[in-house]
Amino acid sequence: MQHYIEHGPAFAWLRVRLEPEERIVAEAGAMVRRSTALEVETRLNASKKAGFLGMVVAFFVALMRKLFGGETMFVNEFWGPQGGEVVLAPKLSGHILRKSLDGTRTLFVQSGGYLASTAGIDTRLRFGGLRTLFGGEGLVLLQCSGQGDVFVNSYGGITEIPVDGQFVVDTGHIVAFDGALDFRVRSIGGAKSFLFSGEGLVCEFRGRGTLYIQSRNLKALVSWVAPLLPR
Protein backbone atom coordinates (compact mmCIF):
# COMPACT_ATOMS: atom_id res chain seq x y z
CA MET A 1 0.00 0.00 0.00
CA GLN A 2 1.25 3.47 -0.80
CA HIS A 3 -0.04 6.40 1.15
CA TYR A 4 0.24 10.14 0.49
CA ILE A 5 -0.74 12.84 2.95
CA GLU A 6 -1.58 15.81 0.74
CA HIS A 7 -2.84 19.37 1.35
CA GLY A 8 -1.41 19.53 4.84
CA PRO A 9 -1.00 21.02 7.35
CA ALA A 10 -4.34 22.81 7.22
CA PHE A 11 -6.60 20.65 5.08
CA ALA A 12 -4.76 17.38 4.82
CA TRP A 13 -6.29 14.39 3.13
CA LEU A 14 -5.02 10.83 2.81
CA ARG A 15 -4.63 9.26 -0.60
CA VAL A 16 -4.10 5.51 -0.55
CA ARG A 17 -3.09 3.20 -3.42
CA LEU A 18 -4.18 -0.32 -2.60
CA GLU A 19 -2.57 -3.47 -3.99
CA PRO A 20 -4.94 -6.23 -5.16
CA GLU A 21 -6.93 -7.57 -2.19
CA GLU A 22 -5.25 -5.12 0.19
CA ARG A 23 -7.71 -3.48 2.61
CA ILE A 24 -8.04 -0.18 4.36
CA VAL A 25 -10.60 0.68 7.01
CA ALA A 26 -11.82 4.28 7.32
CA GLU A 27 -14.17 6.26 9.51
CA ALA A 28 -17.70 6.58 8.11
CA GLY A 29 -18.14 9.58 5.85
CA ALA A 30 -14.44 10.02 5.13
CA MET A 31 -14.38 9.11 1.47
CA VAL A 32 -13.68 11.88 -1.04
CA ARG A 33 -13.23 9.88 -4.21
CA ARG A 34 -12.29 6.34 -5.18
CA SER A 35 -11.67 4.10 -8.13
CA THR A 36 -14.87 2.53 -9.40
CA ALA A 37 -13.26 -0.92 -9.21
CA LEU A 38 -13.10 -0.90 -5.40
CA GLU A 39 -15.62 -2.68 -3.19
CA VAL A 40 -16.99 -1.00 -0.09
CA GLU A 41 -18.25 -2.76 3.00
CA THR A 42 -19.81 -0.88 5.93
CA ARG A 43 -19.50 -2.40 9.37
CA LEU A 44 -18.97 -1.68 13.03
CA ASN A 45 -15.54 -0.84 14.25
CA ALA A 46 -15.69 -3.43 16.99
CA SER A 47 -12.65 -5.26 18.24
CA LYS A 48 -11.95 -8.43 16.30
CA LYS A 49 -11.49 -10.21 19.60
CA ALA A 50 -14.97 -9.29 20.89
CA GLY A 51 -17.29 -12.19 21.28
CA PHE A 52 -20.98 -12.18 20.37
CA LEU A 53 -21.90 -10.16 23.47
CA GLY A 54 -19.14 -7.73 22.68
CA MET A 55 -20.55 -7.27 19.19
CA VAL A 56 -24.07 -6.68 20.53
CA VAL A 57 -22.81 -4.06 22.98
CA ALA A 58 -20.73 -2.43 20.27
CA PHE A 59 -23.72 -2.31 17.93
CA PHE A 60 -25.91 -0.77 20.61
CA VAL A 61 -23.29 1.84 21.43
CA ALA A 62 -22.83 2.72 17.78
CA LEU A 63 -26.55 3.05 17.20
CA MET A 64 -26.98 5.26 20.26
CA ARG A 65 -24.16 7.48 19.19
CA LYS A 66 -25.45 7.76 15.64
CA LEU A 67 -28.84 8.83 16.96
CA PHE A 68 -27.61 11.12 19.69
CA GLY A 69 -24.47 12.42 18.08
CA GLY A 70 -20.88 11.48 18.64
CA GLU A 71 -18.48 9.09 17.08
CA THR A 72 -20.53 6.42 15.38
CA MET A 73 -17.84 3.80 15.09
CA PHE A 74 -19.23 2.65 11.80
CA VAL A 75 -16.45 2.19 9.35
CA ASN A 76 -16.08 1.53 5.66
CA GLU A 77 -13.63 -1.04 4.41
CA PHE A 78 -12.23 -0.58 0.90
CA TRP A 79 -10.57 -3.28 -1.23
CA GLY A 80 -10.66 -4.72 -4.73
CA PRO A 81 -9.37 -7.68 -6.75
CA GLN A 82 -7.27 -5.30 -8.81
CA GLY A 83 -6.61 -2.80 -6.05
CA GLY A 84 -7.32 0.87 -6.66
CA GLU A 85 -7.11 4.33 -5.19
CA VAL A 86 -9.20 5.90 -2.43
CA VAL A 87 -8.93 9.39 -0.94
CA LEU A 88 -10.05 9.94 2.66
CA ALA A 89 -10.61 13.25 4.46
CA PRO A 90 -11.38 14.20 8.05
CA LYS A 91 -14.33 16.42 8.98
CA LEU A 92 -12.50 19.33 10.57
CA SER A 93 -9.53 21.29 9.29
CA GLY A 94 -6.09 20.13 10.28
CA HIS A 95 -3.39 17.60 9.62
CA ILE A 96 -2.97 13.83 9.37
CA LEU A 97 -0.33 11.74 11.13
CA ARG A 98 0.59 8.16 10.39
CA LYS A 99 1.57 5.96 13.34
CA SER A 100 2.99 2.50 12.70
CA LEU A 101 2.42 -0.15 15.33
CA ASP A 102 4.61 -3.25 15.45
CA GLY A 103 2.47 -5.47 17.67
CA THR A 104 4.18 -4.52 20.94
CA ARG A 105 2.84 -1.01 21.48
CA THR A 106 -0.61 0.46 22.03
CA LEU A 107 -1.78 3.84 20.81
CA PHE A 108 -4.70 5.71 22.32
CA VAL A 109 -6.53 7.98 19.88
CA GLN A 110 -9.10 10.55 21.01
CA SER A 111 -12.53 9.96 19.49
CA GLY A 112 -12.74 12.21 16.45
CA GLY A 113 -9.04 11.71 15.82
CA TYR A 114 -9.36 8.33 14.11
CA LEU A 115 -9.34 8.51 10.31
CA ALA A 116 -8.23 5.13 9.00
CA SER A 117 -6.16 2.02 9.69
CA THR A 118 -4.81 -1.01 7.88
CA ALA A 119 -6.20 -4.51 8.26
CA GLY A 120 -3.81 -5.71 10.97
CA ILE A 121 -4.86 -3.01 13.43
CA ASP A 122 -7.34 -3.84 16.15
CA THR A 123 -9.41 -1.08 17.79
CA ARG A 124 -11.37 -0.98 21.01
CA LEU A 125 -13.55 1.86 22.24
CA ARG A 126 -12.69 2.95 25.77
CA PHE A 127 -14.74 5.47 27.66
CA GLY A 128 -15.76 6.26 31.19
CA GLY A 129 -19.37 6.31 32.25
CA LEU A 130 -22.79 6.71 30.73
CA ARG A 131 -22.47 10.45 30.22
CA THR A 132 -19.51 9.99 27.99
CA LEU A 133 -21.46 7.40 26.04
CA PHE A 134 -23.86 10.13 24.99
CA GLY A 135 -21.19 12.59 24.03
CA GLY A 136 -20.81 14.32 27.37
CA GLU A 137 -17.70 15.23 29.29
CA GLY A 138 -14.73 12.98 29.68
CA LEU A 139 -12.39 11.20 27.40
CA VAL A 140 -13.54 8.86 24.66
CA LEU A 141 -10.57 6.93 23.42
CA LEU A 142 -9.92 4.36 20.76
CA GLN A 143 -7.29 1.88 21.88
CA CYS A 144 -5.31 0.70 18.84
CA SER A 145 -3.05 -2.34 18.83
CA GLY A 146 -1.72 -4.94 16.44
CA GLN A 147 0.52 -4.53 13.43
CA GLY A 148 0.06 -1.95 10.77
CA ASP A 149 -0.65 1.74 10.35
CA VAL A 150 -3.10 4.01 12.11
CA PHE A 151 -3.90 7.34 10.44
CA VAL A 152 -4.82 9.99 12.96
CA ASN A 153 -6.27 13.42 12.17
CA SER A 154 -6.12 16.61 14.20
CA TYR A 155 -8.22 19.72 14.50
CA GLY A 156 -5.50 22.29 13.95
CA GLY A 157 -1.80 21.61 13.84
CA ILE A 158 -0.14 18.64 15.54
CA THR A 159 2.60 19.19 18.11
CA GLU A 160 4.57 16.24 19.43
CA ILE A 161 5.33 16.41 23.16
CA PRO A 162 7.84 13.94 24.61
CA VAL A 163 6.50 13.47 28.12
CA ASP A 164 9.10 12.66 30.74
CA GLY A 165 7.63 13.28 34.16
CA GLN A 166 4.36 15.13 34.21
CA PHE A 167 2.27 17.15 31.77
CA VAL A 168 -1.23 18.61 31.78
CA VAL A 169 -3.42 18.95 28.67
CA ASP A 170 -6.94 20.24 28.14
CA THR A 171 -8.83 17.09 27.09
CA GLY A 172 -10.17 18.69 23.92
CA HIS A 173 -6.61 19.18 22.66
CA ILE A 174 -5.49 15.53 22.87
CA VAL A 175 -4.96 13.81 19.53
CA ALA A 176 -3.20 10.59 20.55
CA PHE A 177 -0.67 9.21 23.02
CA ASP A 178 1.51 6.18 23.78
CA GLY A 179 -0.21 3.44 25.71
CA ALA A 180 2.74 3.46 28.10
CA LEU A 181 1.68 6.78 29.64
CA ASP A 182 -0.42 6.97 32.79
CA PHE A 183 -3.29 9.39 32.52
CA ARG A 184 -5.90 10.85 34.84
CA VAL A 185 -8.76 13.19 34.00
CA ARG A 186 -9.53 15.99 36.44
CA SER A 187 -10.92 19.50 36.49
CA ILE A 188 -8.39 22.29 36.44
CA GLY A 189 -7.46 23.89 39.76
CA GLY A 190 -10.43 23.21 41.97
CA ALA A 191 -14.20 23.65 41.66
CA LYS A 192 -14.24 27.42 41.12
CA SER A 193 -11.87 27.21 38.20
CA PHE A 194 -13.94 24.53 36.57
CA LEU A 195 -16.95 26.80 36.56
CA PHE A 196 -15.33 30.03 35.64
CA SER A 197 -12.03 29.43 33.98
CA GLY A 198 -13.48 28.33 30.68
CA GLU A 199 -11.25 25.30 30.73
CA GLY A 200 -13.20 22.10 30.78
CA LEU A 201 -11.44 19.01 31.93
CA VAL A 202 -7.76 18.40 31.80
CA CYS A 203 -5.80 15.20 31.50
CA GLU A 204 -2.70 14.73 33.63
CA PHE A 205 -0.08 12.54 32.01
CA ARG A 206 2.69 10.80 33.94
CA GLY A 207 5.57 8.64 32.87
CA ARG A 208 7.53 8.47 29.66
CA GLY A 209 6.01 8.43 26.22
CA THR A 210 4.92 10.53 23.29
CA LEU A 211 1.83 12.71 23.39
CA TYR A 212 0.34 14.46 20.36
CA ILE A 213 -1.66 17.63 20.95
CA GLN A 214 -3.71 19.69 18.49
CA SER A 215 -3.83 23.44 18.38
CA ARG A 216 -7.62 23.68 18.18
CA ASN A 217 -10.48 22.26 20.24
CA LEU A 218 -14.02 21.54 19.05
CA LYS A 219 -15.63 22.39 22.40
CA ALA A 220 -13.91 25.78 22.39
CA LEU A 221 -15.20 26.47 18.89
CA VAL A 222 -18.71 25.55 20.00
CA SER A 223 -18.55 27.93 23.00
CA TRP A 224 -17.27 30.67 20.78
CA VAL A 225 -19.98 30.33 18.13
CA ALA A 226 -22.93 29.65 20.46
CA PRO A 227 -23.60 33.28 21.56
CA LEU A 228 -23.77 34.36 17.92
CA LEU A 229 -26.56 31.95 17.04
CA PRO A 230 -30.16 33.04 16.74
CA ARG A 231 -32.95 31.35 18.69
Binding site: E6, H7, A10, F11, A12, W13, E27, A28, G29, A30, M31, V32, R33, R34, S35, T36, E39, V40, E41, T42, K66, G69, T72, F74, N76, A89, P90, K91, L92, S93, G112, G135, L218, K219, L221, V222, V225, A226, L229, P230, R231
Partner: protein, 229 residues
Protein backbone atom coordinates in the same frame (compact mmCIF):
# COMPACT_ATOMS: atom_id res chain seq x y z
CA UNK B 1 -10.65 43.43 -14.04
CA UNK B 2 -8.65 40.60 -12.54
CA UNK B 3 -8.65 38.56 -9.36
CA UNK B 4 -5.60 38.34 -7.15
CA UNK B 5 -5.82 35.62 -4.52
CA UNK B 6 -3.73 35.83 -1.36
CA UNK B 7 -3.22 33.66 1.75
CA UNK B 8 -3.80 30.47 -0.18
CA UNK B 9 -4.80 27.80 0.51
CA UNK B 10 -6.23 28.07 4.00
CA UNK B 11 -7.63 31.52 4.59
CA UNK B 12 -7.70 32.80 1.06
CA UNK B 13 -8.77 36.32 0.22
CA UNK B 14 -9.54 37.42 -3.34
CA UNK B 15 -8.85 40.99 -4.40
CA UNK B 16 -10.87 42.06 -7.43
CA UNK B 17 -8.86 44.85 -9.03
CA UNK B 18 -11.00 47.25 -11.03
CA UNK B 19 -9.91 49.82 -13.61
CA UNK B 20 -12.14 52.92 -13.87
CA UNK B 21 -15.52 51.84 -15.20
CA UNK B 22 -14.89 48.13 -14.65
CA UNK B 23 -17.18 46.09 -12.46
CA UNK B 24 -17.45 42.75 -10.71
CA UNK B 25 -20.57 40.94 -9.50
CA UNK B 26 -20.19 39.10 -6.20
CA UNK B 27 -22.31 36.96 -3.95
CA UNK B 28 -23.80 39.29 -1.32
CA UNK B 29 -22.13 37.88 1.75
CA UNK B 30 -18.66 37.80 0.21
CA UNK B 31 -17.53 41.40 0.65
CA UNK B 32 -14.76 41.94 3.16
CA UNK B 33 -13.42 45.41 2.43
CA UNK B 34 -13.09 47.90 -0.40
CA UNK B 35 -11.69 51.22 -1.55
CA UNK B 36 -14.17 54.04 -1.23
CA UNK B 37 -14.42 54.98 -4.90
CA UNK B 38 -16.85 52.22 -5.87
CA UNK B 39 -20.54 52.39 -6.81
CA UNK B 40 -22.57 49.49 -5.48
CA UNK B 41 -25.82 48.11 -6.84
CA UNK B 42 -27.73 45.08 -5.71
CA UNK B 43 -29.33 42.51 -7.96
CA UNK B 44 -31.75 39.77 -7.20
CA UNK B 45 -30.70 36.16 -7.32
CA UNK B 46 -27.91 35.64 -9.83
CA UNK B 47 -28.19 39.14 -11.26
CA UNK B 48 -31.85 38.70 -12.07
CA UNK B 49 -31.36 35.59 -14.14
CA UNK B 50 -32.37 33.34 -11.30
CA UNK B 51 -34.45 30.26 -11.61
CA UNK B 52 -36.33 28.26 -9.06
CA UNK B 53 -34.80 29.88 -6.06
CA UNK B 54 -37.98 30.75 -4.20
CA UNK B 55 -38.42 27.29 -2.82
CA UNK B 56 -34.85 26.88 -1.67
CA UNK B 57 -34.30 26.55 1.98
CA UNK B 58 -31.20 28.28 3.18
CA UNK B 59 -29.95 25.04 4.65
CA UNK B 60 -29.44 23.61 1.22
CA UNK B 61 -27.46 26.55 0.08
CA UNK B 62 -25.05 26.50 2.96
CA UNK B 63 -25.90 30.06 3.89
CA UNK B 64 -25.65 31.49 0.40
CA UNK B 65 -28.21 34.19 -0.28
CA UNK B 66 -28.00 34.43 -4.05
CA UNK B 67 -28.36 38.10 -4.03
CA UNK B 68 -25.40 39.74 -5.68
CA UNK B 69 -23.76 43.11 -5.36
CA UNK B 70 -22.12 44.75 -8.34
CA UNK B 71 -19.10 46.92 -7.55
CA UNK B 72 -18.03 49.46 -10.19
CA UNK B 73 -14.95 51.66 -9.98
CA UNK B 74 -15.78 55.33 -10.44
CA UNK B 75 -13.11 57.45 -12.13
CA UNK B 76 -10.02 55.94 -10.49
CA UNK B 77 -8.82 52.36 -10.02
CA UNK B 78 -10.15 50.57 -6.98
CA UNK B 79 -10.65 47.14 -5.50
CA UNK B 80 -13.01 45.04 -3.44
CA UNK B 81 -11.79 42.11 -1.35
CA UNK B 82 -13.93 38.99 -1.20
CA UNK B 83 -14.02 35.90 0.97
CA UNK B 84 -16.37 32.93 1.40
CA UNK B 85 -17.89 31.75 4.67
CA UNK B 86 -15.70 28.75 5.38
CA UNK B 87 -11.94 28.46 5.50
CA UNK B 88 -10.21 27.26 2.40
CA UNK B 89 -8.85 28.06 -0.98
CA UNK B 90 -10.17 30.11 -3.89
CA UNK B 91 -9.46 29.81 -7.57
CA UNK B 92 -10.16 32.02 -10.57
CA UNK B 93 -11.07 29.67 -13.41
CA UNK B 94 -10.67 31.23 -16.82
CA UNK B 95 -13.61 30.47 -19.08
CA UNK B 96 -13.33 30.38 -22.82
CA UNK B 97 -16.12 30.33 -25.42
CA UNK B 98 -17.73 26.89 -25.52
CA UNK B 99 -16.08 25.88 -22.24
CA UNK B 100 -18.81 25.97 -19.62
CA UNK B 101 -18.12 25.30 -15.97
CA UNK B 102 -20.65 23.66 -13.69
CA UNK B 103 -20.19 25.02 -10.18
CA UNK B 104 -21.72 23.71 -7.00
CA UNK B 105 -24.05 26.40 -5.64
CA UNK B 106 -22.16 27.19 -2.46
CA UNK B 107 -18.82 27.33 -4.28
CA UNK B 108 -19.57 30.33 -6.48
CA UNK B 109 -18.16 33.68 -5.33
CA UNK B 110 -17.88 36.28 -8.09
CA UNK B 111 -17.44 37.00 -11.81
CA UNK B 112 -17.43 39.97 -14.23
CA UNK B 113 -20.34 40.71 -16.59
CA UNK B 114 -18.66 38.87 -19.46
CA UNK B 115 -19.50 35.66 -17.60
CA UNK B 116 -23.10 34.48 -17.58
CA UNK B 117 -24.28 32.60 -14.49
CA UNK B 118 -27.36 30.47 -14.90
CA UNK B 119 -28.99 28.43 -12.20
CA UNK B 120 -29.57 24.91 -13.32
CA UNK B 121 -31.60 23.04 -10.80
CA UNK B 122 -30.46 19.49 -10.55
CA UNK B 123 -32.84 17.49 -8.41
CA UNK B 124 -30.11 15.52 -6.77
CA UNK B 125 -31.65 14.60 -3.48
CA UNK B 126 -29.82 12.30 -1.15
CA UNK B 127 -31.83 9.19 -0.44
CA UNK B 128 -31.55 9.41 3.31
CA UNK B 129 -29.70 12.44 4.43
CA UNK B 130 -31.94 15.05 2.86
CA UNK B 131 -28.80 16.39 1.33
CA UNK B 132 -29.52 18.24 -1.90
CA UNK B 133 -27.28 19.77 -4.42
CA UNK B 134 -27.60 22.13 -7.26
CA UNK B 135 -25.19 23.42 -9.84
CA UNK B 136 -24.77 26.74 -11.57
CA UNK B 137 -23.71 26.88 -15.19
CA UNK B 138 -21.07 29.49 -15.96
CA UNK B 139 -20.59 30.39 -19.64
CA UNK B 140 -18.98 33.22 -21.58
CA UNK B 141 -15.44 34.44 -21.18
CA UNK B 142 -13.42 35.74 -18.30
CA UNK B 143 -12.51 34.57 -14.82
CA UNK B 144 -14.99 32.92 -12.45
CA UNK B 145 -14.04 33.01 -8.79
CA UNK B 146 -14.88 29.78 -6.97
CA UNK B 147 -14.22 28.83 -3.38
CA UNK B 148 -13.44 25.51 -1.75
CA UNK B 149 -13.82 24.29 1.78
CA UNK B 150 -10.28 23.13 2.25
CA UNK B 151 -7.70 22.78 -0.46
CA UNK B 152 -8.56 22.46 -4.14
CA UNK B 153 -7.52 19.47 -6.20
CA UNK B 154 -8.05 19.74 -9.92
CA UNK B 155 -7.57 16.77 -12.19
CA UNK B 156 -8.47 15.74 -15.71
CA UNK B 157 -10.74 12.74 -15.74
CA UNK B 158 -10.39 10.21 -18.52
CA UNK B 159 -12.52 7.25 -17.51
CA UNK B 160 -14.56 6.88 -14.38
CA UNK B 161 -14.40 7.83 -10.72
CA UNK B 162 -16.75 7.69 -7.73
CA UNK B 163 -16.99 11.05 -5.92
CA UNK B 164 -18.64 12.15 -2.70
CA UNK B 165 -20.70 15.13 -3.85
CA UNK B 166 -19.96 17.13 -0.73
CA UNK B 167 -16.37 17.32 -1.99
CA UNK B 168 -17.31 18.48 -5.49
CA UNK B 169 -16.53 22.12 -6.29
CA UNK B 170 -16.97 22.24 -10.05
CA UNK B 171 -16.51 20.31 -13.27
CA UNK B 172 -16.19 21.10 -16.96
CA UNK B 173 -17.99 19.90 -20.03
CA UNK B 174 -17.66 16.30 -21.19
CA UNK B 175 -18.51 14.73 -17.85
CA UNK B 176 -21.58 12.60 -17.20
CA UNK B 177 -22.70 11.77 -13.70
CA UNK B 178 -25.23 9.56 -11.97
CA UNK B 179 -26.13 9.01 -8.34
CA UNK B 180 -24.93 5.71 -6.97
CA UNK B 181 -24.92 3.79 -3.70
CA UNK B 182 -22.06 4.53 -1.31
CA UNK B 183 -21.81 0.98 -0.06
CA UNK B 184 -23.33 -2.44 -0.63
CA UNK B 185 -27.01 -2.25 0.13
CA UNK B 186 -29.20 0.62 1.23
CA UNK B 187 -28.86 0.22 5.00
CA UNK B 188 -25.13 0.06 4.66
CA UNK B 189 -25.16 3.16 2.51
CA UNK B 190 -27.07 4.99 5.22
CA UNK B 191 -24.65 3.88 7.90
CA UNK B 192 -21.65 4.52 5.71
CA UNK B 193 -22.07 8.22 6.37
CA UNK B 194 -21.28 9.13 2.79
CA UNK B 195 -24.49 10.88 1.79
CA UNK B 196 -24.77 11.48 -1.94
CA UNK B 197 -22.20 9.74 -4.06
CA UNK B 198 -21.78 10.22 -7.80
CA UNK B 199 -20.27 8.02 -10.49
CA UNK B 200 -18.63 10.50 -12.85
CA UNK B 201 -17.43 9.44 -16.29
CA UNK B 202 -16.11 10.91 -19.51
CA UNK B 203 -13.29 13.30 -20.29
CA UNK B 204 -13.09 16.63 -18.57
CA UNK B 205 -11.75 18.60 -15.64
CA UNK B 206 -12.97 18.07 -12.09
CA UNK B 207 -12.32 20.34 -9.09
CA UNK B 208 -12.58 18.80 -5.62
CA UNK B 209 -12.27 20.29 -2.14
CA UNK B 210 -10.48 18.47 0.63
CA UNK B 211 -13.24 19.00 3.18
CA UNK B 212 -16.99 18.41 3.06
CA UNK B 213 -19.16 21.29 4.37
CA UNK B 214 -21.98 18.90 5.33
CA UNK B 215 -19.66 16.69 7.40
CA UNK B 216 -18.21 19.76 9.06
CA UNK B 217 -21.64 21.26 9.69
CA UNK B 218 -22.86 18.00 11.29
CA UNK B 219 -19.73 17.59 13.40
CA UNK B 220 -19.94 21.09 14.86
CA UNK B 221 -23.67 21.72 14.59
CA UNK B 222 -24.60 18.60 16.52
CA UNK B 223 -22.64 19.97 19.50
CA UNK B 224 -24.41 23.36 19.45
CA UNK B 225 -27.42 24.24 21.62
CA UNK B 226 -30.70 23.19 20.01
CA UNK B 227 -32.66 25.60 17.88
CA UNK B 228 -36.36 26.42 17.98
CA UNK B 229 -37.10 24.72 14.72
Amino acid sequence: MHFEIQYRPTHSLAIAHLEPGESVRAEASAMVSMTRNLDITTDGPMGGRGGLLKSFKRAMLGGETFFTNTFRARGTPGHVTLAPTLSGDMLAVELGPGEPLYIQGSSYVAAPDSVDIDTRWQGLKGFFSGESLFFLEATGSGPVLVNAFGAIEQFDLDGEVIVDTGHLVAFGAGIEYEVTKASRGWIASYLSGEGLVLRMSGRGRIYLQSRNPNEYGQAVGSELPPRQG
